[in-house]
Amino acid sequence: MLSVGLLVVVLSVTMLSAGPTLYYFYIANREGNTIRTWNNLVLVSFGLQPLNQSELADLGGLPSVQRVIPMVVDQISISTKGRAVGEVVYFVSTDDAPELFSLLGFNQSTTPSPTDWLYLGHTAAGDAGVPIGSSTQVMVTGIGTMTAMGAGTTYSDSDFNTFGDIQAFWASATQTTKPGEYNGLLIAASNTSAANALGPILTAAHPGWQASTPSEVDSARSSAPLGQLQFALFLGLISWIFGLVMLGTYVGREVSAQSKELVTLMALGAPKSTLTRCLSCYLLILTTAGCLAGLALSLCVVTPAYEILSFGYTLTKAYSTIAYTVGVTLAPVLALDIAIVLVLQRNLNRLEMMSFLRAEV
């Protein structure tokens, strides 16, 4: 039963790592401050269907649409290892950048340097505002450049590990989009409610399109994924509590059996001093086991829970990685160790007594 509990914990944490898809679109400066929100923007992606130019023209005729910026857009489910669970990062082609900036209200007359201004989405470094690796090209770049980036990237290996799906994105983007074609739009609506209304209109009119409207982004970001995360954490905690209860029951049974044996031996004439020594040793092992279980619980559940639920990046990446590695990998091992130690201790006592008896007789 304990193993089942631990398995559920591992699955829960894995589920946390995989995470639900969260549409998350924001603009930040390099210091990580969000400087523009998406209040009146609709992001439309076409998936495997490149944009049809006439459809693009049609959109301009919609009454609430102020501007339409075609972009190379795709979404990346980030392999998070504890941060930015399920975020979706949108990439925008370099060519679109001036218009995009203009649309967003940046006071830039020329194409901004991405390092100075803009990126979309989070970065592998984990701290908002710091571009992935030392490169910024991926943030505002053309598809051609992105393809090249796939081969000659300046990312470090660890960045790729963290953002493993970036490569999948590139593959997808290059298959569906050629230079000069677009697979996404950034649409500025006259106001937020118009932007919210545009999403369903567009997706209904153009099967296969996906629209992320401000309210969807907000709700997806704020409630559903968090709810799922909480549920997963709840599962994890329940599993751990269940596991600990099982462990406690087992320990309790062992202590009871051991106590009974000690009392019996005492009644049969074994000196109290010997029994006290046995009991102290046993209690020491139990205490150690309890501490290890607590540590495992803390590492496996509490740390990730704190990090995920805080939904910020308060802990360093290194600590996060260590916590997960130790927590997820080592916790079940520790718990099993505890059980094994208890069983061994009991069996050692048995063996000791049996060998003592049999040597005597």
Partner: protein, 219 residues
Amino acid sequence: MQRLILDAVTKSYGSDQVLKNASLRIASADFISVVGPSGSGKTTLLGIMGGLERPTTGRVEFDGEDLTAFDDRKLSEYRNRKVGFIHQMFNLIPFLTASENVMVPMVIGGRQAHFVSSRATELLGFVGMKGKATMLPRQLSGGEQQRVAVARALSNEPEIILADEPTANLDEKNERVIIEYLQRLVQSGKAVVLATHDAALAQRAARMCTIEEGILNEI
């Protein structure tokens, strides 16, 4: 001859006094029952008689020696040599065979190896368990386990047998068997103290005491 004397013994756990001014004299070949409901102090009384617990006040003498003055080693020796315990739940060591369980008190008491083995066989024969000497407790029925426990209690030829609800977990047939063994022990000169909540069973003893809320009275 008086073997065990309890004189104005009290036992308290914190502010809870579980034994109040209990006095009792036990001679060889006495068969005394102590009857009372659960929690009345029977087990505590037996624990004090058997040297498992020390009284809070009062005096416990065995063959003229004050048990309360014994150190741990001497008290262990007393439990090992002079007293035989029979518990309600049998309390056999689960990973030792029936024969090994009977040997334990003798091994603790430092008896010679050849003696231990032959004595265990003899005692198992006495309780009709010779054929099951190599079986583990879990392979035995409740009645059989209690018979092994009786054999174990006798292994060091104690002067007093303290039986705490020895038949509470047994059926009628096995209850009869165990009581018969106890009676045979009495006939052989050993003192037996039987603690029970069963008044009918208590009447099988030659002397009967009641205990209620820690107060012991001989009827």
